[in-house]
């Protein structure tokens, strides 16, 4: 049932979507919905689906489909809709560049290098993982050190195990999920190490990925050295103080033949930087308006390429909006320009979109810097809302309604999330 990649590309499209993961597929559907006729998805993998293809565990779709699905099931639902709506998909193809006239240069195994023109484009390239270089772990540069997501690809798609005895650095969900995944495939997981004093992933994963299998979780502990000549043989781990500095005299050695790094995701922003889009220094993704349009007219962006999400359901929501607006751009039905800048204030790391307009409702996504049990979100002086249990690992979303802005005539609104006294 999975469609074959189209054999003959058209020379021009209304909307070209870069990336065919959950964001790209939803954006393409949104574009069709708002009147774009010729829509193309370009994906570099052998089939569309993005990261969902390797996320074989459940937890997807509770909001969007009101059902709990695995990653591949969620992807297949969107792919079926895309095919039903006559969206073209070219797989095994890579977008090299988009020029000022929105000509998209792409390279594919089947068609070589081609230039097609697009009236609007949507960037949906997703994220990449931070690697050892980002944290500069000392030691030898042996094999067997890889990111958790890459290990997930090896195990779930390519069919081989990364090793026999693994240490995992980072207690975010990817690390926890891989602790379980490896265990179910017969790999020994020596432990999960987390530099912060609290685990980063969902409680459900702490229980079902670690406790279920008696895999120890060492908080406030990190890997301080990697050992091994050709292949990793072990790591030195050490507890850290309140400034996250390792206490070398309390270190100990853990033998292993594999080290998985689950130390964070960043937007895949090569193309974004190449296009010289305005980039938000906190998210590392392009600055976007409330229509998910970037600083270049007609170039929209959505999903992990804008800011790292936790729930794929919110990715889909955001992407449908981006696609819909790309479609409006093509058909000439653009909504009013944004007139209010949103400024991340106290305890708010960033917010997306970075601007809004006063004529319609918007969903604003943000993350806190510090966890708070009971807190109050303030949108300037015009609106406030009580929140329960906010923490950096879970995105907060706020519906901003036009009536909040009725009497507001300023240019900017600061969003603060403060402890409730």
């Amino acid at each position: 049932m999975i469609t074959e990649s189209i054999k003959h590309l058209n020379n021009n499209y209304d909307v070209v979507v870069v990336g065919g993961g959950p964001a790209g597929m939803a954006a393409a559907l949104g574009a069709k919905e708002s009147g774009a006729e010729r829509v193309l998805i370009v994906d570099r993998e052998k089939e569309a689906g993005g990261i969902l293809l390797q996320c074989i565990h459940p937890g997807f779709g509770l909001q969007h489909f009101k059902e709990e699905l695995t990653g591949p099931e969620y992807a297949q639902r969107f792919l079926e809709q895309a095919i039903a709506k006559d969206i073209d998909i070219i797989a095994d193809a890579y977008v090299l560049d988009i020029d000022g006239d929105r000509r998209v240069k792409l390279m594919s195994g089947s068609q070589g290098v081609q230039v097609i023109s697009a009236k609007a484009t949507v960037l949906a390239m997703g994220a990449r993982e931070r690697t050892r270089g980002a944290i500069r772990t000392p030691g030898t540069r042996c094999s067997g050190v890889l990111t958790a997501g890459l290990a997930q690809r090896f195990v779930n798609l390519l069919g081989f195990l990364p090793g026999n005895k693994a240490v995992i650095l980072g207690s975010g969900d990817i690390g926890l999920i891989m602790a379980r995944r490896l265990t179910l495939e017969g790999v020994e997981v020596a432990g999960v190490f987390e530099i912060m004093p609290h685990a980063n992933g969902l409680n459900r994963n702490i229980v079902q990925c670690l406790q279920d299998f008696n895999i120890p979780l060492y908080l406030s502990t990190t890997v301080v050295e990697i050992h091994g000549r050709d292949r990793i043989e072990g790591v030195t781990v050490a507890p850290v103080n309140e400034h996250l500095q390792p206490l070398a005299d309390q270190s100990w050695y853990v033998p292993c033949d594999t080290l998985l790094l689950s130390i964070g995701l960043i937007p895949e922003n090569e193309l974004s930087r190449q296009l010289q889009l305005r980039i938000d220094p906190v998210t590392s993704g392009p600055v976007v308006s409330s229509t998910m349009e970037t600083s270049i007219n007609g170039v929209f962006a959505c999903g992990n390429v804008v800011h790292i999400h936790d729930l794929v359901d919110f990715v889909s929501q955001e992407a449908i909006l981006a696609g819909r607006n790309a479609g409006f751009y093509v058909t000439g039905n653009r909504p009013p320009t944004d007139n209010i800048r949103l400024i991340p204030g106290e305890n708010v790391a960033y917010c997306v979109p970075q601007t809004i307009s006063s004529d319609r409702e918007h969903t604003v996504y943000m993350r806190v810097r510090r966890p708070l049990k009971e807190s109050i979100l303030k949108l300037g002086d015009i609106y406030e809302k009580k929140l329960r249990y906010v923490f950096p690992a879970e995105m907060v979303n706020l519906k901003v309604k036009p009536r909040f802005l009725q009497n507001f005539h300023g240019e900017a609104l600061t969003i603060d999330i403060l402890p409730l006294e």
């Binding site: 049932m1 099931e73 195990v155 798609l157 179910l184 409680n203 702490i206």
Partner: protein
């Protein structure tokens, strides 16, 4: 926080981390000779129910992959149609590691039926087309 059980005479106190919402309440189940006497630590009904279920009959959904021949990928993701007893999870995965299927496969195809006589099947989580190359 680990699941632990303290014992004094025939009374046991077991600890569970609730997974219902981000609060992550620390639940306690006190039992006498295996019968639940009291559940403590929850702040909502779901938490109370979860503690009882986890104590008496913890169950888990299982998702894993099986080897597929001739498919566009080397592995096919599969899932159980319902949650199975937690203590059977590793054994099921060991069984599934011996299973080989051949493409094309359709989403929902049964890979193993009625595992451990529980009325639960293991099914394909996606279509797996044949590799054209």
């Amino acid at each position: 926080m680990n699941q632990t059980t303290e014992t004094t005479t025939e009374t046991t106190i077991s600890h569970y981390l609730c997974i219902g919402c981000p609060l992550g309440c620390r639940l306690e189940v006190e039992a006498d000779n295996g019968h639940i006497v009291e559940v403590r630590g929850f702040t909502c009904k779901r938490g109370e129910e979860y503690a009882k279920q986890e104590h008496t009959e913890p169950r888990r959904m299982v998702t894993t992959t099986v080897r597929v021949n001739n498919g566009i990928w080397a592995k096919l993701p599969v899932k159980t149609t319902a949650a199975i007893p937690k203590e059977k999870v590793i054994e099921l995965c060991q069984q599934l590691r011996q299973v080989n299927v051949t493409a094309p496969i359709h989403i929902g195809d049964t890979i193993l039926s009625n595992v451990f006589d529980l009325g639960v099947d293991v099914v394909a989580s996606r279509d797996m087309p044949t590799d054209q190359n």
